[in-house]
C-alpha cells in the first residue's frame, strides 16, 4: 500500500488505477484508557495530538470529536493566515504559527496549499493612516514583516479598487504584510490527522463528551457517547463550545459565543491576488484557488450557538465589498454560513491549565483561530506534556483575568473579535 505522497507515488498509483492508497487515517475503536485525551477534532485538537506524538514522544493519545474532523470552525473560516498584531506577546504567538505554516506541507507530507500572497489592511482616513503607521512600527519592532503602504502601493496591489473621486472608502494606504496569505483549511485538519494517526494517535469521530471524570479533585478522563475513556490529562480545544464543556467540568470562562459569518461568490477568473481587509468598511475578502470570492466581516452582535448568522451584518459586509470593488456587484453569492466563535474580553486566546487540575485549555481564539492552529497545537502539547507553560503561552493564561494583565488586541487585529 502507498502511504507517502510524492510525484513518484502519484505516478505509481496512476499506473495502478489508484487502488493502492492507504487510508489517510485509521478509525479505531476507543480504548478504555489513554495517556492523554484531546477533546475536539478541529485544527487545534489534531495539531495538539500531532505535536504530543512528534515533539514529546507521547503517542498513547486519543482525539475525540462529536461530529467529523474539521466540521466546526476549521471548515468554516475564510482561510487567512497572518501575524499582523500589535502587542509583543501576540506577535510572538501568531508569528510562531505563521512560521510553522511555512514549513507545514513538507513536515506533514500533505499539501496545505499555503499561498503567501500578502495582505493589505486598508486605511481610509488620515487618522487611520496614523494608526496604520503605529501598527507597522510595532510589528517591525516585534520582529515580523510589515510595510506602510501609500495610495500608489494600494493601486499596485489592488488595481480593481474603487479609486474614483466619489469613493466612499478612499484608499490612503494601509498595513501590508507580505508573508500573510491563505491556506486550504480542510487540508490543515486532514494533514494533522493523517500525520498524527501515522504516529499512533487514535482519532475517534462521532464521539461526544457528555461529562468529565473527576476523582480526588483532578480530571481523570471523559465519559463519551462511545464509552468511558480514562486519561492522565485531558486537553480541551472546542472553540465556541468551550463554555459548555467548562460547565460540565464545574467552572465558567470569560467567553461569550457569537456567530461569525462568511460567504462565497460564484467562481470567476483571477482578479484579486491579495487578501484585503478594510476595518472601516467591516469587510475582508480574498479569491480562492477555485476562483470564488471568499468574503467575511465582523461578528453578529447577538450571542448565539446557531450556526447561521443574521442579515444586518451580512448587509454591512457586502455593501462594504461592493463599495470598494464596484465590479463585484455582478457576482452571485453561492453560499453563506456561520461558525460559533469564542470571544474573550481582550480578544486574545486562553492557554493553560483550567481551574480543574488535569484539564488544559486551548480556547478564546475568537474570530482568528485558524491562523493560530500550529502554535495552538505546539503550546497545548507543551503544557500537557510538561505541565509547564511555554514562554510564548504564559501571558495567555486564564490568570490574566484575575491579575488584570490583559492583552487587548481588539485594535491590533483590525476587525474586532
Amino acid at each position: 500500500m502507498t502511504r507517502h505522497y510524492s510525484a513518484f507515488s502519484l505516478l505509481k498509483e496512476g499506473l495502478a488505477s489508484q487502488k493502492g492508497w492507504m487510508k489517510a487515517w485509521e478509525s479505531p475503536e476507543p480504548k478504555p484508557r489513554y495517556d492523554m485525551v484531546i477533546v475536539g477534532g478541529g485544527g487545534h485538537g489534531l495539531a495538539t495530538a500531532y505535536y504530543l506524538a512528534k515533539r514529546h514522544g507521547i503517542t498513547d493519545v486519543a482525539v475525540v470529536e462529536k461530529g467529523w474532523l474539521g466540521g466546526g470552525n476549521t471548515g468554516r473560516n475564510t482561510t487567512v493566515v497572518r501575524s499582523n498584531y500589535f502587542f509583543p506577546e501576540s506577535v510572538r504567538l501568531y508569528d510562531m504559527a505563521l512560521k510553522l505554516y511555512e514549513g507545514l506541507s513538507r513536515e506533514l507530507n500533505y499539501n496545505i496549499m499555503l499561498s503567501q500572497r500578502g495582505m493589505i489592511s486598508l486605511a481610509h482616513t488620515p487618522a487611520e493612516m496614523e494608526m496604520a503607521a503605529r501598527v507597522v512600527n510595532a510589528m517591525q519592532i516585534n520582529g515580523t514583516d510589515a510595510e506602510l503602504f501609500g495610495p500608489e502601493d494600494v493601486k499596485r496591489v489592488l488595481p480593481i479598487y474603487n479609486f474614483g473621486p466619489k469613493a466612499r472608502y478612499p484608499a490612503l494606504g494601509g498595513v501590508w504584510q507580505g508573508r500573510s496569505g491563505t491556506a486550504r483549511h480542510d487540508a490543515v485538519a486532514w494533514g494533522y490527522a493523517r500525520a498524527a494517526s501515522r504516529l499512533g494517535v487514535h482519532i475517534l469521530q462521532r464521539c461526544e463528551v457528555t461529562e468529565f471524570l473527576v476523582e480526588g479533585g483532578r480530571c481523570r478522563g471523559v465519559v463519551t457517547s462511545r464509552g468511558t475513556i480514562r486519561a492522565e490529562k485531558v486537553g480541551l480545544a472546542v472553540a465556541g463550545h468551550s463554555s459548555q464543556m467548562a460547565a460540565k467540568a464545574g467552572f465558567r470562562l470569560p467567553i461569550t459565543s457569537y456567530a461569525l459569518q462568511a460567504c462565497v461568490s460564484e467562481p470567476v477568473k483571477p482578479i484579486l491576488d491579495t487578501v484585503v481587509l478594510s476595518p472601516g468598511a467591516g469587510t475582508y475578502a480574498s479569491q480562492s484557488d477555485k476562483g470564488e470570492m471568499v468574503v467575511g466581516g465582523g461578528l453578529d452582535r447577538i450571542p448565539s450557538y446557531g450556526q447561521r448568522g443574521n442579515l444586518p451584518v451580512l448587509e454591512t459586509v457586502l455593501s462594504g465589498l461592493v463599495e470598494m470593488f464596484p465590479a463585484f456587484r455582478q457576482l452571485n453569492l453561492m453560499r453563506q454560513w456561520a461558525g460559533i466563535v469564542d470571544v474573550v474580553p481582550d480578544s486574545s486566546p486562553i492557554l493553560g491549565e483550567s481551574p480543574l487540575p488535569g484539564l488544559y485549555l486551548n480556547c478564546g481564539w475568537g474570530t482568528g483561530g485558524f491562523k493560530a492552529i500550529p502554535a495552538g497545537g505546539v503550546l497545548l502539547a507543551h503544557l500537557m506534556a510538561t505541565g509547564q507553560h511555554h514562554d510564548i503561552s504564559r501571558p495567555f493564561d486564564l490568570d490574566r483575568f484575575m491579575t488584570g494583565r490583559l492583552i487587548d488586541e481588539a485594535a491590533g487585529s483590525g476587525i474586532a473579535h
Binding site: P254, I255, T256, S257, P303, S304, Y305, L311, P312, M402
Partner: protein, 85 residues
C-alpha cells in the same frame, strides 16, 4: 432580520438592540476579592439554549430583561427590570 420586543417600545428590529450581559450578574461591593471582581467583570454563563439576559434598547435607552434561546434564537418579549438597577 430578528425582531426583539422592548417592554417600553414594543417589537423593533435587532440593530436597535445591544447585548448587556447575564441577568443577575450583580456588581460586588468595593471590598470584594480579586476573584469575585474578575467573575463579575469577565466571566460569563454563555449558555447553549435558554439564556436570561440584560439587553439595551438603544433608541429609548432602557435596559430590560429578556429570555432567549441561543440555538433557535427564539426570544420572549422583554421584561422591565424591577426595583433599583
Amino acid at each position: 432580520m430578528q425582531i426583539f420586543s422592548c417592554p417600553f417600545c414594543g417589537p423593533r428590529p435587532e440593530p436597535e438592540f445591544h447585548f448587556g450581559g447575564d441577568l443577575g450578574n450583580d456588581r460586588p461591593g468595593p471590598d470584594c476579592t480579586a476573584e469575585a471582581w474578575a467573575e463579575y467583570l469577565h466571566f460569563r454563563n454563555n449558555p447553549r439554549g435558554t439564556a436570561e439576559e440584560i439587553w439595551l434598547h438603544v433608541p429609548c435607552g432602557e435596559l430590560f430583561a429578556m429570555r432567549r434561546d441561543t440555538v433557535t434564537m427564539a426570544a420572549d418579549p422583554g421584561r422591565a427590570l424591577g426595583g433599583q438597577p
